[in-house]
Symmetry: C2
Subunit: 102 residues, 2 copies
DNA sequence: AAGATTCATCGTCTATTTGCGATGAACAAT
DNA sequence: ATTGTTCATCGCAAATAGACGATGAATCTT
């Protein structure tokens, strides 16, 4: 990771594609997003039922998706409702479309 | 990485998105693809001039892009000409479009 | 044949990712 | 107050990714 002398300055667009792509680079995160989109929203518990992985692992993947901006979580004690972040979703859609169109 | 008992069977579509995304998940690979697309093709040497990274590092990133199917290399001794794999490019474009459309 | 050029691969180091169980925080229900 | 539920976070282990220099293979040029 450490770049010795020469720093590369990536453009915002390059970093945006890389960031969204990184979020989508694990199949379980792809699955989570699909599931979220099909339900429009869901609770963490529904995901842990759907996906045979430890609850802590799913929670971590949700965190990554949230940090990438693709989803958002609304706290509804004692549960948390996750939804696609429609704005970011549209941005990602456009970013990829532009990227692949050139 | 080790999934203990429960293996998850991802669908081909989930794995496809994850695979393409992984290839795009590093900004330097995004840049390489952009450069490749703008020139339609280029030699490794042009990339090592353009991008301030060790030649071996760039070669590794090219390898990853090739393994993801997004580019192909034609050996033209003593050089190698890399081009976008148009078929895979079109597939990726469609895969992302479908993914974000649902 | 000897050297130069171009690129891939190997080995090494460090950082990041991925997975899990255990624990903790926040709240609801009793 | 105590207990149960839901979820996030911590700490650990193992695997993968990313960067580099050094070396090697293949092919031109001389």
């Amino acid at each position: 990771m450490q770049r010795t002398s020469n720093e590369i300055n990536y453009s915002p667009r390059e970093e945006q594609i890389a960031r969204f792509s990184k979020a989508l680079s694990h199949p379980v995160r792809v699955r989570i997003l699909q599931f979220l989109d099909s339900q429009s929203c869901c609770f963490t518990g529904e995901l842990t039922e759907e996906i045979p992985m430890a609850q802590s692992t799913i929670s971590q993947h949700l965190k990554e998706l949230k940090e990438a901006g693709l989803i958002q979580g609304d706290v509804m004690p004692p549960r948390v409702k996750y939804c696609i972040n429609q704005k970011a979703w549209a941005e990602a859609k456009k970013a990829f479309a532009v990227f692949f169109d050139k």
